[in-house]
Symmetry: C2
Subunit: 290 residues, 2 copies
Amino acid sequence: MGPAIVVHAGAGAYGAELREHGGEVAEVLRSVLAAAGRRLAEGFDALTVVVGAVETMEDYGRFNAGYGAALCSDGTVELSASVMRGADRAAGAVAGVRTVRNPVRAAELVLAGEQVLMIGEAAESLAAAAGLELWENSAFVTERQRARLRTLAEAAESRGTVGAVCLDGHGRLAAATSTGGINGQPPGRVGDSPLVGAGTWADARVAVSCTGDGEAFIRAGVARRLGGHVESGASVAEAAERVLAEVGELGGAGGLIALGVEGEVSMPFSTQAMPRGVWRAGGEPEVWLS
Amino acid sequence: MGPAIVVHAGAGAYGAELREHGGEVAEVLRSVLAAAGRRLAEGFDALTVVVGAVETMEDYGRFNAGYGAALCSDGTVELSASVMRGADRAAGAVAGVRTVRNPVRAAELVLAGEQVLMIGEAAESLAAAAGLELWENSAFVTERQRARLRTLAEAAESRGTVGAVCLDGHGRLAAATSTGGINGQPPGRVGDSPLVGAGTWADARVAVSCTGDGEAFIRAGVARRLGGHVESGASVAEAAERVLAEVGELGGAGGLIALGVEGEVSMPFSTQAMPRGVWRAGGEPEVWLS
């Protein structure tokens, strides 16, 4: 089984955003996949590749992560991200950061240290000390998100989050997820994206990144539970369907991407759309919007 | 099966603290169990009872939660807590709060709202708006913890956290956990205690509260995994042993309390000591230190 990478750009409605900009979104995902594929072909490890992929998606401006993320009710941006390496289950995450240009890079820094989750200004200080680029909070704010906050664009459209899961040439898995939360959320609210076991998981068998109604994903313990199902013998596809059904039982909707150590890919979602794509060794990037 | 409650006051070494104050610690736990038992006999629900039990432990002053919690490297206190109700898996948590006298009460407030996890000043504002008691941060600091920070008392002694799991007279489960983190931790560090699925879990079958090396508990997804094992047919005791072994494989130590819907109790720990106790309908509180 050669290397592979899967990415998503958030589960939600197939609304005006995708009707008008779907082509560009697909192009961005193809570009992210192609770049990740080149790095995998060059021998980069899974963790490095998912961090790079998510970083590019954080920079794009139309995804709900990094620049262009959803706004809190007070018009500011609060960002969260997490990463996990399957081989040794090392993990790192940041929540509630307001100045780190690429939260996934801050999560990668935390993974390299003794902690797993760092929040707020302390996480920002850590990023600053390591030389990561810092922005004024207002620099993350796009006119698109200002308009969405004014109209409180339906929650179903604003679940978006970005994520990546990867199997590298040495059979090692990794996962990364990054988000700006929910349009109009109260400052201080943290969803599933930065929580290892809720929105992100990687072990020796499977890597997972989730998107959707964060509270339901936490209450279902989605990512950890999926890993448990696979450990107990379920296929990656069965495990993914089961945890998404569990989210539904709790009244939530969303989606996830999961990649098994044999290269099995599952990308179920219970919303109208979930922009996503797959690259496999020797192939071209494949992308879907709904 | 009548109602039951199980509490813990943190896994760690059997050090000077327990040698000198073990009798008092045991007495506090007995008192917490007796009060919880009276409430259960009066028909209170599991969630209310675990919150009350943890609140009393937060107030005691010698446990690492609420008043008397461990100090961060800068000498301040940062508190975290979570609660979960098994019947509907409603959950609430706060992390990195510095002024809420009883963090578990703030977690209970969050459970009643739309979010699951609120951090920092936003969580404090929520608590203040609901009329919860606020303290100056310095009011949480005890001379005992100042001395521990000065000497950086061995980490093995400072894992302590408090927690409770309960089965009420209607067969409903709930769990709660509260902590001040690790002696000398960097401000902004968040461990497993406020993370649903890591340090706390409750569903229709089992309720769990963990204590120990928080990072390893997160990376093992302990509480959610335990719930999964039970769902898959393992006994509560088997499930508890398996997840604690998984923490060990990741280089961590600690303990947990788990209570099944048939009243099964498991309280394994891989440290020298874990003050803990059980009360069951019609019986007297039983308490152990190691």
